[in-house]
Symmetry: C2
């Protein structure tokens, strides 16, 4: 089965203590779509300006990502610029130019509407709602978010939560949303807001799933060197949804393994600037690292 | 086989945002010894004053801990007082009264000298050296430490490292000692300093082993509520050494599982003030949580 992915498609200018890379392919939907493409066909919904480099379109096409839903319109592509501190965990935004994104209304092509798996990657909750309004009985709907929406669009996010099967957020967002210091307390409150499954991402410490079968501690793939963590969370949830769509059958059966694949693809993402490492990745490299991670956790 | 454990034996006055508990049984050797006692016989080396409550001696005896090496001398028992912040990770020391600890020279009773497994729990590196000088061909020597010794006794610690099989420290200590931001870089440098096995503790995120068989990611046991994390690291390494001593055979074969038992006993430690929860623990509760942790990580 295929995955429908909606989110931002952007140009990212990323500065780390070691290097600076202008106008890389970025955005939550780009990361998630490429990550999902290793497992299943992907339908992408997004918007870019007429300055969007042709090579990025080609990159997405090489991953057999269906771009019918990618609007290319006159104007500038969403441009984000950020800088990481030495520890690679703290980053600050230097610049956000919304460009054509300001007027984005995601529209699902007819062939997208019946997608069984829908990933609402990080984007304004009102747009995530709008996509769901057009989808026809999806089997499994997941959404990611960011602190910005908790600050400026909380009511939209709260109504969205009632329409989700899986909500993915990071630990600081979980604390912000629930006012709970403790992860267990936060998970309890998050379930009460709607979703059957909640995943709390913990950066380089892995992630935690809470669902009907209880908790699952998903290990991180430990990296000797992080080049650029941008998009790791989007890659995690993209790979997860791609794996679920490919596996078919019961989500309960496959979700834990899907998360581990998410960890693996996210680790590759961190090994290069933007999507540069992930874009060169092969499925067999993914499988190799998946087995390696199994070994790292075996006792 | 039995474990020889040397370290501090103290009275801890612990304040958290929720409660205050004066003069609890504390000290690295007390925590480690009780944790190890669930798996193997323990020989304890330490010192207390004549104010040391009789009930704490009884507690240690109930765990069949051999106290021949516990010196009881006129004067005051080492007293530490600390306060935790709301997140339970940051703590500050309010008071340190060394008392009889100031004159401590650990002396091994004859029956202790041939112990195969030696745990040098957190204590001044010069005293850790002194214990090793008296031990007769131990099979496996492990040591823990703390930031204080990195600051005031680094030369002693560096020579100690050459005498160890396993060195256990937390992530901030690893960074401080090696000047490496990255865990992999830190591990590489730590091995060069001597020990074949290095474990980096990461608090509530688990721990990481590096040894001849490569890396092992040891999961934490996730807790809904942490009452008091004091002694969790000592409990971890104590249980680990107790399990290794009981398992016999090759350390390489058992060390990963020993760490998971360490995680489990450390989690119980955090569920009560000082040793109050651990003191009531049974081996079957340990096994139950061990199996539960296996389930939490299975995919």
């Amino acid at each position: 089965m295929s995955v429908l992915i909606v989110g931002s498609t952007a140009l990212d200018s990323i500065k780390t203590p070691k290097a600076e890379n202008p106008r890389l392919l970025g955005g939550s939907a780009s990361y998630a779509a490429v990550a999902a493409s290793f497992f299943s066909p992907v339908h992408l919904v997004g918007i870019v300006g007429d300055d969007f480099p042709r090579r990025y379109i080609q990159l997405l096409k090489r991953h057999k990502i269906d771009l019918q839903g990618l609007q290319v319109v006159p104007g500038k592509t969403f441009h984000w610029s950020g800088e990481y501190e030495l520890n690679m965990n703290n980053r600050r935004t230097l610049l956000t130019e919304l460009g054509v994104f300001e007027t984005f209304t995601p529209t699902l092509p007819e062939t997208y509407r019946k997608s069984s798996f829908v990933l609402l990657a990080n984007i304004a909750p009102s747009l995530q709602h709008h996509v769901l309004d057009q989808a026809v009985r999806p089997k499994f709907v997941a959404a990611d978010t960011m602190d910005l929406w908790l600050n400026i669009a909380l009511p939209d996010l709260l109504t969205l939560l009632k329409r989700l099967d899986l909500f993915v957020l990071n630990d600081s967002e979980a604390h912000q949303l629930t006012k709970e210091d403790n992860l267990f307390g936060a998970l309890k409150r998050l379930h009460k807001l709607g979703p059957k499954y909640v995943i709390i991402k913990q950066g380089s410490h892995g992630s935690l799933l809470s669902g009907p079968r209880g908790l699952f501690l998903c290990p991180p793939y430990p990296l000797p060197s992080v080049v650029d963590p941008t998009g790791a969370g989007d890659s995690f949830v993209g790979a997860l949804m791609g794996y679920l769509a490919a596996a078919g059958g019961s989500v309960d059966t496959h979700l834990r393994k899907a998360m581990v694949y998410g960890s693996v693809v996210a680790s590759f993402c961190c090994e290069g600037f933007g999507l540069t490492r992930t874009a060169k990745l092969t499925r067999s490299q993914v499988e190799q690292r998946f087995r390696k991670l199994q070994q790292l956790c075996r006792y």
